[in-house]
């Protein structure tokens, strides 16, 4: 019996839900009915067997990425590698850091290859690939704690923004973080780039050696984690305000470097009720009246 992905419309009758193993996609397209349908068909068709493609190279995908050479075959696997390669010389990173965004990008690409859509997104558990044509825009809600309800803020992305990918990384999601950020949301030109950069920035939001931070080797939690025995954050105890600022500052510094290098268009970093925003694209309207302006201002001008 062949394993089949789950393919269904969500109860609103508009959004398509695709799920296979750990991949869980929510998709919405806007356009003529026939185009939306063709797009959804193309998404479902491309999705079928995609997990198997990835798993065929899973061992290699879980190894630290080489900054230059790519031994991977699959188109999604190679996109994962390309997204993490800019970081591989200076950081520990595996292609798995970009898996969610790369899958989202692939599915969106398949949809656009099959249909003329005004607007579309593929949301892979918070890592989102976007498509926008003139006059269209996206309103994106930001959550600081994926394990809780409620939006922290919203931001708008318009067609003339270069942003076509959004990703969030942090210690509450399904994957582990080496840092202590509750959430780092990154806007980038592609979903795979956003995914990789969010991982890197979230890892940089850290207070190494701090006694209030509980860490545990990743492979004690998930035996086959690509992070091996590296310490991942399990809990963050009470921190002083200055410590929160220090940690956010470290993350924002990294985000600023990536912004200058053109690897991200913007980032919002969140740690224990404090927020830092780097770059202005997309977040311009609501970024500045931030919840905790003092930390934000100081951090963004590092």
């Amino acid at each position: 019996m062949k394993r089949l992905p789950q393919i269904a419309l969500l109860p609103d009758g508009k959004r398509l839900h695709l799920q296979d193993g750990p991949i869980d996609l929510v998709i919405e397209a806007k356009g003529r009915d026939a185009d939306v349908r063709a797009g959804y068909e193309a998404a479902a068709y491309r999705f079928t067997g995609l997990l198997d493609e990835l798993c065929a190279e899973l061992t290699e995908l879980r190894r630290p990425a080489d900054p230059v050479r790519c031994m991977l075959q699959g188109v999604v696997a190679r996109r994962m590698h390309a997204a993490v390669a800019p970081f591989a010389a200076d950081h520990f990173i595996t292609p798995m850091a970009a898996v969610a965004g790369s899958v989202a990008e692939e599915i969106l690409g398949a949809m656009l290859g099959a249909a003329r859509l005004d607007r579309a997104y593929v949301n892979n558990g918070g890592d989102i690939a976007l498509h926008l044509t003139d006059g269209e825009q996206f309103s994106v809600g930001l959550m600081d704690r994926p394990d809780r309800q409620g939006l922290m803020r919203t931001m708008d992305i318009e067609a003339d923004d270069p942003v076509r990918g959004i990703a969030t990384s942090g210690r509450h999601g399904r994957s582990f973080s080496l840092g202590i950020a509750d959430a780092v949301t990154v806007l980038a030109r592609t979903a795979s780039q956003a995914d990789a950069a969010a991982t890197i920035i979230a890892n940089a939001v850290d207070l190494p050696g701090h006694p209030a931070i509980v860490r545990c080797p990743a492979n004690e939690l998930q035996p086959d984690s690509d992070l091996g025995s590296r310490l991942v954050t399990r809990d963050v105890g009470a921190l002083r305000e200055s410590e929160v600022d220090d940690a956010l500052r470290a993350g924002a510094r990294r985000a600023q470097q990536l912004l200058v290098a053109g690897l991200v268009e913007g980032a919002a970093l969140r740690l224990l009720c404090e927020t830092a925003v780097v770059g202005t694209t997309g977040i311009r309207t609501q970024a500045l009246p931030a919840l905790h302006g003092s930390a934000l201002e100081r951090v963004t001008h590092v």
Binding site: M1, L9, P11, G13, L51, L221
Partner: protein, 482 residues
């Protein structure tokens, strides 16, 4: 059923998807859907809500071709149906079934009692679309050398097997029971199983796929026997060819001698057939059974003919020879010595051969699971089990299995049959008894449920299941699964 293999230490390896996560006790895999509970792989969601949503999964070919038999709707408003898969079973008997769910359908408050039944009295009926000889009636059918069932009476164009049953499950050796249980579960979960038949063939059976008989995959069912084919196509051949022979392992048909030819005033051709004449134009045993023309062993169709009769035959007489599936066909013209010489077939005859092919349905294996809901299962539904039986008989209660429609056999008890390809993937499991675990749901009006002594205090609104996130939407692929 997904199961896990011990992977050394206390972690287990999940095989629900190709990621094949190692999962430590108390932890979940990468998907958060499967977890390690005291060394056992469990679904984190206790039962499944089946969204009756058309999914094209498994229908990618017509989908890609731009339509075909695909109904054109990728999805529609999901009609949520709670199924018993993963509901678990409860003992002792009087404990209410795991889920008694109420939901409104057309304004009538409906109750669905969701449980997984343990079926000791169960088996599968396998229909194998082939005319090839699989073995004599009542011959023992074996899997891995163990007797698991027998060949039963054949149906039109198909051979039938009856497998499983309480005798093989629990009446024989331990190994016989285990092998029978495995084979039933695999067949019911649409996996392929190799069966050998005493004094007959080896056949690989998988629900929804063509049978593989002695290593050869069957492609099509014949359109009919040779005689039936003559009857069906005589008018289309009339005036285009002088003689037609439809070669078949069972009954070979001859147009000029057949009743259908006589009615069209088709003249005699002087043809001489080998084999045993049954009635005019119908011949048994023109050749030995095999994998050649029309299920015979021949590769040269002329080998079933004797010399033409000089009194009636004439040079230039034309003849089409074709098998009952249209897979083989040849066109002949008699020479001066009245010997048939193969010649290129005229276009309109080619079209008639294609028409035969077109009318042959793909050969498939189909598997019907058959089981009886015993007293204990019914007690989980109501205080008074026999009333459930009566309610089912009176059509007040609808029975489904994994959301799929069932046929309830008339008479006593609740013995039902279900096409396993209609059920969601992995619907069947087993217990070491050995017996199969299959989902079964009873749906009835809330008022009727109260009247038959239902466990009213355990009825939960459908919405409560959703809120508790105790559900997992499932693709529902009507009519096709594997």
């Amino acid at each position: 059923m997904t199961d896990a293999t011990p992977a050394g230490g206390d972690k287990i390896r999940c095989d629900a998807c190709p990621v094949m996560c190692y999962i430590k006790p108390g932890a979940a895999g990468a998907c958060d859907r499967y977890a390690n509970h005291d060394g056992e792989l469990v679904r984190v969601d206790p039962h499944i809500v089946l969204e009756q949503t058309v999914s094209h999964g498994g229908r990618l070919v017509p989908f890609q071709a731009g339509g075909g038999d695909w109904d054109g709707k990728i999805v529609h408003e999901p009609n949520v149906f709670v199924t018993a898969i993963g509901a678990g079973t409860t003992y002792p008997d009087y404990k209410p079934a795991p889920f008694i769910v109420s939901s409104e359908i057309d304004g009538v408050d409906m109750v669905t009692v969701v449980t997984e039944g343990i079926f000791s009295y169960c088996g599968v009926k396998v229909k194998i679309d082939t005319d090839r000889y699989l073995g004599p009636e009542t011959a023992t059918v074996r899997a891995q050398g163990e007797a698991i069932g027998h060949v039963t009476t054949s149906e039109y164009g198909s051979q039938m097997l009856s497998l499983g049953g309480v005798h093989h499950l629990t009446g024989g050796s331990k190994k016989e029971g285990r092998v029978t249980c495995d084979a039933l579960m695999d067949l019911s979960n649409c996996k392929s199983v190799e069966l050998t038949i005493d004094g007959g063939a080896t056949v690989v059976v998988q629900a929804g796929y063509p049978p593989i008989v002695n290593g050869v995959a069957e492609e099509r069912m014949r359109v009919g026997c040779g005689s039936a084919t003559i009857g069906m196509f005589a008018k289309q051949w009339h005036g285009k060819v002088d003689e037609v022979v439809v070669v078949d392992d069972h009954i070979t048909g001859v147009l000029s001698e057949h009743q259908a030819g006589k009615l069209l005033d088709i003249p005699d051709t002087g043809i001489k057939m080998k084999g045993r004449r049954s009635t005019p134009g119908r011949y048994f045993q023109v050749a030995e059974p095999g994998t050649g023309w029309g299920g015979t062993k021949i590769s040269d169709p002329l080998s079933v003919l004797g010399p033409f009769d000089k009194k009636e035959a004439r040079p230039g007489l034309t003849m089409l020879m074709v098998s009952t599936t249209g897979e083989h066909a040849a066109y002949y013209v008699l020479d001066e010595a009245l010997r048939p010489l193969e010649t290129e077939m005229p276009l309109d005859l080619k079209l008639s051969v294609e028409r035969i092919q077109e009318n042959c349905e793909p050969a498939l294996c189909t598997v019907l699971f058959m089981g009886g809901a015993g007293g204990s299962l019914r007690a989980g539904v109501t205080d008074n089990p026999v009333r459930l039986t009566r309610s089912v008989k009176d059509a007040l209660t609808r029975v489904t299995s994994g959301g799929a429609p069932v046929y309830v056999w008339p008479g006593g008890g609740i013995t039902f049959m279900v096409d396993v390809t209609q059920m969601p993937a992995g619907a069947f499991g087993y217990v070491p008894t050995p017996a199969l675990v299959a989902p079964i749901e009873f749906t009835l009006r809330l008022s009727d449920y109260a009247a038959l002594g239902g466990h009213m205090d355990h009825v939960r609104p459908l919405a409560s299941l959703r809120d508790n996130t105790e559900f997992r939407p499932m693709p529902y692929i009507p009519g096709r699964r594997a």
